[in-house]
């Protein structure tokens, strides 16, 4: 099948590949997907004292579109607040990468990954209660 130039670019030159210390207080980890389904994404964000994402890393097991979706996401979340990051929609990713309909699930997975990472860091920072109250 034909991939868009942007998917190929991210696939061939993935941004921010790597791993942050998932035990660190300022690192949130989102791991979504399942090997049986053919894709697993691990997205990690490192947050500064003001709640701004200062670094993001990913590793993805999956097709080219899944790798590109997570690579793009790491670029997008850097410099964003947790709230802003959690609002990224899969449709924006799909549109940016021109994903065909059969690959939309890759962008959904990327959205799930950032939401899970944000949830994880918020739990670490004890923001859950605050969220619920707010």
């Amino acid at each position: 099948m034909a991939y868009s130039d942007k998917v190929i670019d991210h696939y061939e030159h993935p941004r921010n590949v790597g791993r942050l210390d998932d035990k660190a207080d300022n690192v949130g980890t989102g791991m979504v997907g399942a090997p049986a389904c053919g894709d697993v994404m691990r997205l990690q964000i490192q947050v500064d004292d003001n709640g701004i994402i200062e670094d993001a890393k990913f590793k993805t097991y999956g097709c080219g579109s899944a790798i590109a979706s997570s690579s793009l996401l790491t670029e997008w979340v850097k410099g964003k607040s947790l709230d802003e990051a959690a609002q990224i929609k899969n449709t924006e990713i799909a549109e940016e990468l021109a994903l065909p309909p059969v690959k939309i699930h890759c962008s959904v997975l990327a959205e799930d990954a950032i939401k899970a990472a944000v949830k994880n860091i918020r739990e670490k920072r004890g923001e859950e209660a605050e969220q619920a109250a707010g």
């Binding site: 099948m1 979504v32 053919g38 691990r42 993805t60 059969v102 699930h105």
Partner: protein, 404 residues
């Protein structure tokens, strides 16, 4: 070197140039263009002669009588004709059919259709090595079993079934035995004087002939009857009507003739290529061959590269023309049903590639391919969270994944 390197001979083969030139002679005014069914003039007689020569070449490779060969449009049609034709003809005796879970879709979907018509089908599960054993077939036999349909060589994993032994036990019980042999002629011996096979499907394009032509072997002694699926001018003794495509048939005949002459050497050469390839990748960690390593055709290697996904692997290997056991491009995200039936876990099934080597593969092709594969697997493992976990000693099967 022509890029991408073609390593997908199990999907189809290029037509051998010797075959192509013979085919070209059957088309134009100057050539042998006649209708083989025309009985009233020389053009028809010459075309008929060419068709009968081809029939003899096909029969010779499989040690059959030329009168047992029925031309079809390919193995899919042969499978349909054999299974529906026999089931319909013999349904008075019973309505039970035995096949396996790893048959080609041409067999599986035909069986599904017969189920809708009221037949009952048992789908045998192959063993871990991909082989369906004769004792499994014997156990599944019932009083009302009329037909067993099993493949000779599996298209994905290249594993060979013991057709001779299964034939014996079908014959003992007077059950019709159909074999889908799309993948085996020219690669391994087929001797239908010895093997008790009643119906056998063939394709030309897997053996360096053209696409769009195949044949069904229909045994004469003991005679096997079929209900025709295509009605018309009564060609092919009423079993398959339709004007015979002389150029296609001559192509198939020539391909089978060449195969008979060259298969012994070709099998050796192809096996050497496969071993050369495997020796260059087998030292990598967590690389597994799917299906029996011994009981398989020389040209096939189906390998799982754990912790990398097949489709992305193929994307990295753009200089190689290969196929993946992962069907991630389909909306279902289902990995290969063949690998699943072998008990290969979904993750490894998603990580599998099929390499198939053939007549025009060179040592240089194989060496380049092996190098590319190593590079791609290493790159994608660097990107893979599963590889990290494996390296950290995490057992992936203990993790509860959220299926999506």
């Amino acid at each position: 070197m022509k890029l991408p390197i073609y390593l997908d001979y199990s999907a189809t083969c290029p037509v051998d140039p010797r075959v192509a030139s013979k085919m070209a002679e059957q088309l134009t005014m100057e050539g042998n263009f006649g209708n083989p069914a025309s009985r009233s003039h020389l053009y028809g007689w010459k075309a008929e002669e060419a068709v009968e020569d081809a029939r003899r070449h096909v029969a010779e490779l499989i040690n059959a009588d030329p009168r047992e060969i029925v031309w079809t449009s390919g193995a899919t049609e042969s499978d349909n004709l054999a299974i529906k034709g026999a089931a319909h003809f013999y349904q008075g005796r019973g309505k039970h059919i035995i096949t396996s879970k790893i048959e080609h879709k041409a067999v599986l979907d035909t069986c599904r259709q017969l189920e809708r018509e009221g037949f009952e089908v048992t789908y045998l599960n192959p063993k871990e090595d991909g082989i369906v054993y004769p004792e499994q077939v014997a156990e599944a036999m019932r009083e009302d079993t009329i037909l067993v349909s099993l493949m000779h060589v599996n298209n994905e994993i290249g594993v060979i079934n013991d057709i001779a032994a299964i034939g014996e036990l079908c014959r003992e019980r007077k059950v019709i035995f159909h074999v889908d042999a799309a993948q085996s002629p020219g690669k391994i011996d087929i001797d239908l004087a010895e093997m008790k096979v009643d119906l056998m499907s063939f394709s030309a394009h897997k053996i360096y002939g053209p696409k769009g032509i195949g044949a069904l072997y229909v045994r004469r002694k003991p005679r096997v009857r079929l209900e025709a699926q295509m009605h018309g001018g009564g060609h092919e003794r009423g079993m398959r009507s339709g004007t015979l495509p002389t150029h296609q048939i001559v192509g198939m005949g020539e391909a089978f003739r060449i195969a008979k002459e060259e298969m012994a050497d070709e099998a050796k050469r192809t096996l050497a290529l496969r071993e050369r390839f495997w020796s260059q990748i087998s030292d990598m960690e967590e690389v597994h061959i799917n299906g029996s390593a011994e009981q398989r055709v020389p040209g096939n290697l189906n390998v799982s590269f754990a912790f990398v996904e097949g489709e992305s692997l193929i994307m990295s290997l753009k200089d190689l023309a290969i196929s993946s056991g992962s069907a991630c491009t389909s909306a279902s995200l289902e990995p290969s049903y063949v690998l699943r039936a072998l008990g290969v876990n979904d993750e490894l099934a998603h990580s599998s590639l099929r390499f198939s080597f053939g007549r025009f593969t060179t040592e240089q092709d194989v060496d380049t391919a092996a190098k590319e594969v190593r590079k791609a697997v290493e790159k994608l493992r660097e990107l893979s969270p599963l590889w990290d976990m494996y390296k950290d000693g995490v057992d992936l099967s203990t993790i509860e994944w959220a299926a999506h």
